[in-house]
Symmetry: C2
Subunit: 392 residues, 2 copies
């Protein structure tokens, strides 16, 4: 019986993780849960899993009501609250694996707490790897725990390098669906949030869907792959593959490439991270039928149309705090774009300007990186305000 804590259990990845844990209830028990504010979802999950502890990450107006509900419906479940509560939940509850399905930098401290208490990390949060990947990998190695990627691309690379000598990897080739605009020839500044939220192949959260439209998602994934698999960024290649059937490839020194394929469904990489090193039958994943698909296409990504991709490679090459700054500025800019405050094309501009303002800062170490992250967010906010006044 594997014990699992799910952070961010009401989000897209969190809900799918819960589905899988329920399907595999003979093999997996959910011992901890957290949501930002969706208490109704959490209540259902508490009834299903009877976890040892849960955490409400944000001040919910009905906190005391919720406390009473717990007392009546699941009296043995311990209740934590806020960011500090999240760390306490992770540290105090015994578990094999932490599923880190919280978006953004908020996942960093709980992940560190989980590693320090010897939990494997099923990692659905690429931002924190971009921000502080080297530090996390070092800490994981020191504590003898595994970082199991949940992103479909990194899970593919992980599967394609299973049983292989990592030194014999020549390149990692990440596939990108290309998002809704890889063929778009119109004015990118006119792209609205509604349009950008319509992803052709993957159903995901809002932030990552916008990142897929700007290709920043693929840039962040390239940095993540570089960190997780220990390869310099110039050996992480990207190819547009609109069908999202090949989830990524590993190219070896002998000229062979291994690829992982499936119908696009996040429940496959999530389950793989939960059951690794075993594979378990899944009732969710539709079997692959290559003849029915008829063809798989591949295109070079256009770094000019998608400047975010270029910025990500620059940040990785610069090293130090630049990836953290890229990520912080992007998170801030995407939020502003989703709120209708800036243009689609402003996202890359704000990221680029923020990166330039912090150029040369060679900080590392988790506390310094958190500091850089906060400073970059502040700067990005003020750049957004100027962009807004230009738009008026």
């Amino acid at each position: 019986m594997k014990k699992v804590i799910i952070l961010g259990s009401s989000g897209s990845i969190g809900l799918q993780t819960a589905d899988i844990c329920l399907q595999l209830k003979d093999k997996i028990s959910v011992v901890g849960l957290s949501v930002r504010s969706k208490t109704e979802v959490l209540k259902k999950q508490i009834k299903t899993f009877k976890p040892k502890a849960i955490c409400l990450e944000e001040s919910a107006d009905n906190f005391s009501n919720f406390k009473n509900w717990i007392k009546i419906n699941s009296p043995k479940t311990k209740l934590f609250f806020g960011a500090v509560g999240l760390e306490k939940l992770v540290s105090s509850v015994e578990a094999d694996t932490l599923v880190a399905a919280i978006v953004g930098a908020a996942a960093l401290k709980p992940i560190i707490a989980a590693i320090k208490t010897k939990k494997n990390i099923a990692l659905a949060n690429k931002e924190i790897v971009v921000m502080a990947g080297a530090e996390i990998m070092k800490l994981a190695a020191e504590n003898g725990v595994s970082i199991l990627p949940v992103d479909s691309e990194h899970s593919a690379v992980f599967q394609c390098s299973r049983g292989e000598d990592k030194k014999q990897i020549k390149n990692i080739i990440l596939t990108a669906s290309g998002g809704p605009f890889y063929k778009y020839d119109g004015d990118f500044s006119k792209i609205t949030a509604d349009k950008a939220l319509k992803h052709p192949t993957w159903k995901m959260g809002r932030k990552i869907t916008i990142d897929s439209a700007t290709l920043m998602n693929k840039g962040l994934e390239a940095i993540e792959a570089s960190v997780l698999f220990g390869l310099p960024i110039d050996r992480i290649k990207i190819v547009i593959h609109p069908q999202s059937i090949i989830h990524s490839l590993v190219e070896y020194v002998d000229g062979a490439a291994l690829a992982q394929l499936s119908n696009p469904d996040m429940r496959l990489p999530i389950q793989y991270a939960l059951t690794y090193p075993r594979r378990m039958p899944s009732k969710f994943i539709k079997p692959l039928n290559l003849a029915a698909l008829s063809k798989l296409e591949f295109f070079e990504p256009d770094f000019k149309k998608f400047p975010c991709l270029k910025l990500a490679y620059s940040a990785a090459n610069a090293g130090g705090a630049q990836p953290a700054i890229l990520n912080a500025a992007n998170e801030t800019a995407v939020e502003a774009f989703l709120d209708g405050r800036i243009l689609f094309t402003d996202i890359a501009k704000i990221v680029e300007k923020t990166m330039k303002l912090f150029k040369g800062i060679k900080k590392t170490g988790i506390d310094s990186l958190i500091e850089a992250d906060l400073a970059a967010r502040k700067k990005a906010h003020s750049l957004i305000e100027s962009a807004e006044s230009n738009l008026k």
Copy 2:
């Protein structure tokens, strides 16, 4: 330093194996060689590799000349002769791996001799696996040696199941280029040997090229995969993939599939079998460029147009001596087709008739299978004679 014996060193696979051994001469030493009759090729290879022993498989008119040549040019090289000599060569020369690159049933006895003297088998001969696969696998297990597939498809499957629990394999999906006729809508009986010998993606020997045109090659490979990877034949699937970039796939119980890709070049699977478990850089294999390929296509195979495929599955389902009979009849019929004695469509007819005549014979054991093989060849020959008289 790995010691290698190459049987059939003047054939297509043999020559490529020699190229690789020469490229990797710091890692691999060639200690034995055999050819059917091409002594000129053999002389060059003897000068290059200075093998411990060689064998001329067939009565060469210039045998005594050759003996003198050896005495002068490579006096330490021991000379064997004929089918018995081949077994002696294999048994007496110390080596890590035997590369079995002889076409057809003639490879069986030398392979058995190699296994019994604890040599790994790099297997480029699917016929003998079809003929006596179960027996060979059993013998290999008893002697603790590995059967390393050299066929690109089986090498792909081997690579895609590396580090995986074999019990979690759901299906093996063999890709087929489809040969020159998978889209052909004309009269199959009018197909000449010249036309059938023009394979669109692979440069191979004549017999296997005809088998690719009838899809018998894929049928034999399905039987081979079933034997090598221990799966029932109905879990070996076939998909037409004209680009020959994905060399095969393994589908797992969780819905994930792993695929091995490369530009079509036999030197990749040959080298993998020679250097396994390591991968070594190859100067021969052109790196894969998916975007330059632009698309990979997949089609269902047409069992009506290609009756040989259906016959292979029937033979595997029937078991016993039927795969050996299928193989023997096919080898005989293909030879007759290449000699212009029968029609392209007669190949399947002769195989089917031969299989029916030997239906119900449930023999196993290597000697019985060799007997069945010979009887089937004889029967196929007489069927070919009748077909010929019909053609006149």
